[in-house]
Amino acid sequence: MIRALRLVQRNAMVFRRIWAGAIFVSFLQPAFYLASMGLGVGSLIDRGGAVLPGNVPYVAFLAPGLLAGTCMQMASFESSFPITGKMVWERNYEAITSAPMRIVDIVVGELAWVALRLLAVALVFTGVMWLFGAARTPLVLLAIPAAVLTGLAFSAPIIAYAATLKTGANFNALFRFVISPLFLFSGVFFPVSQLPGPLQTAAAFTPLFHGVELTRGLALQTLTWPAFAVHTAYLSGLLTLGTAAAVWTFTRKLRA
């Protein structure tokens, strides 16, 4: 564990140079989205009288979904190019393995670093939610660990994949054909019950759907215990499998 923290420390030192801009973006991005989609489109939707889960205004429906979606996007990005970069382009991991670091320390360290970044983003996001009146009870804080777990469930398998690549070209396809459609169709912007039947079933198998349901359910206090168990089990399972896969791909790459 201590050794994994060394990697977190290393990443934090690199991050120190650019943190101001990153915090700025992580505050403004959700504020812009909530103002435009939440308030702008939301006022149209609320006028139309659509019934949303929990009978809340659209902005309160959108905000927790957007929190989970943003965590997915950020975690995916942080687990893609930077990992391939450290593996292939800059060969940082090669250097790190000559220190008393095991592969598992590296993988856990990278995940812990992503978790830390997600936690910061989720905290800022929750603050923005509160400003927009989309967080009405302190219980909304429960959404933060849920969003972090959602991000990590994406981070681990993508880290595993990133370690196998030589160039970043495949990531463009990953973002265009996996991450971006998930963001749009997993219930962030509209309830998946609006989708045609077969797509609804398909959506129920995607990780972001579970992340959104969990985060939103906790934020709006509409979650039942069985649903909580299913969503958490799905996301933790993905995180565990992804971590195992990452240890395997890292080992193949670094111990070859």
């Binding site: 650019i18 801009g21 990153a22 700025f24 973006v25 403004l28 991005q29 812009f32 989205y33 103002a35 435009s36 989609m37 702008g40 489109v41 006022s43 149209l44 939707i45 006028r47 139309g48 659509a50 659209y58 070209a169 463009n172 396809a173 265009r176 054909f177 971006s180 459609p181 749009l184 169709f185 912007f189 509209f190 609006q194 989708l195």
Partner: protein, 284 residues
């Protein structure tokens, strides 16, 4: 005393004076610009997937926001939400193409791959390079726009609600080429101000994303406070959205001419500024 070779003396005048002083011999020639175009064609033959994948982005947004969210939104001034959003997404797609080509790709070719240093060692001049890159971006933009228009036409006719409401929608294709040209020039201009990779975050976070969200694509700008409504008049994407929406819905009036004028003049000015600034960067 011999006069300095053409193009070798760096231009040290102010941006405005420099941009507005147009000399005939500085303008790009088609013959040379086509070479730049040809080069891009050769490069993209190997990474055609990048081009094909660009078709899907606006489609996904149309299905998710136009139809998914749209099913919860009542008609806006008698216009179905899908028909309201679709022309906006066409405009934003033109912008995204311009940003990824004119801003990111060109910046990397300029500062990382240093592609242009090699090209400028040939009889190509900066203006030829810039114009050739523009032509390339326009080809891509036109292809995307044409595909999107055909798609929304078919989608609207087969499943409804109709999205292209007037025969004037056919003019949305040339209009979207104008939008793509104008945004490509602006992206080039912006590109010349980007110093490092962190600047991209600022450009995306403070310019591109806010424009995407507040230019009337997803909700009418008249919903915003009066101050923002006045401000949006200087935002390029607002004019692009308003122009394309006027054409697809057939509500064309005197404002449409103002949108066109903004895009033409703004784009031309941005192109001239970009050219001057690239001459300074590339020719030392």
């Amino acid at each position: 005393m011999t006069p300095p070779l053409q193009g070798t003396a760096p231009d040290r005048r102010g941006m405005l004076a420099g941009a507005l002083d147009i000399r005939w011999q500085d303008l790009p020639t088609l013959r040379r610009s086509v070479r730049m175009y040809q080069r891009n064609l050769m490069v993209y033959r190997h990474i055609w997937m990048v081009i094909v994948s660009g078709f899907f982005e606006p489609l996904f947004y149309l299905l998710a926001i136009g139809i998914g969210v749209g099913s919860m939104v009542p008609d806006i001034n008698g216009l179905s939400y899908t028909a309201f959003v679709a022309p906006g997404l066409l405009a934003s797609n033109c912008m995204n193409g311009a940003v990824s080509d004119g801003l990111f790709n060109i910046w990397f070719k300029l500062h990382v791959q240093r592609t242009y240093d090699g090209i400028l060692a040939t009889p190509m001049r900066v203006a030829d390079v810039a114009f050739g890159e523009m032509l390339w971006a326009l080809t891509r933009g036109s292809l995307y726009s044409a595909a999107f228009l055909v798609l929304v036409f078919v989608l609207g006719e087969l499943w409804g609600p109709r999205i292209l409401l007037s025969p004037s929608a056919i003019l949305a294709l040339p209009a979207s080429v104008l939008v793509a040209a104008s945004f490509s020039s602006m992206a080039l201009c912006l590109c010349s101000f980007v110093r490092n990779r962190e600047d991209f975050d600022k450009v995306m976070g403070l310019v591109v994303v806010p424009m995407f969200l507040f230019s009337g694509i997803f909700f009418p700008v008249t919903q915003m406070p009066a101050f923002f409504q006045a401000f949006v008049q200087i935002v390029p994407l607002y004019h692009a959205v308003a122009l394309l929406r006027a054409l697809t819905t057939g509500i064309v009036d005197v404002w449409t001419a103002w949108h066109i004028a903004y895009l033409v003049v703004g784009g031309a000015f941005a192109f001239l500024v970009a050219m001057r600034r690239f001459e300074r960067t590339l020719i030392k």
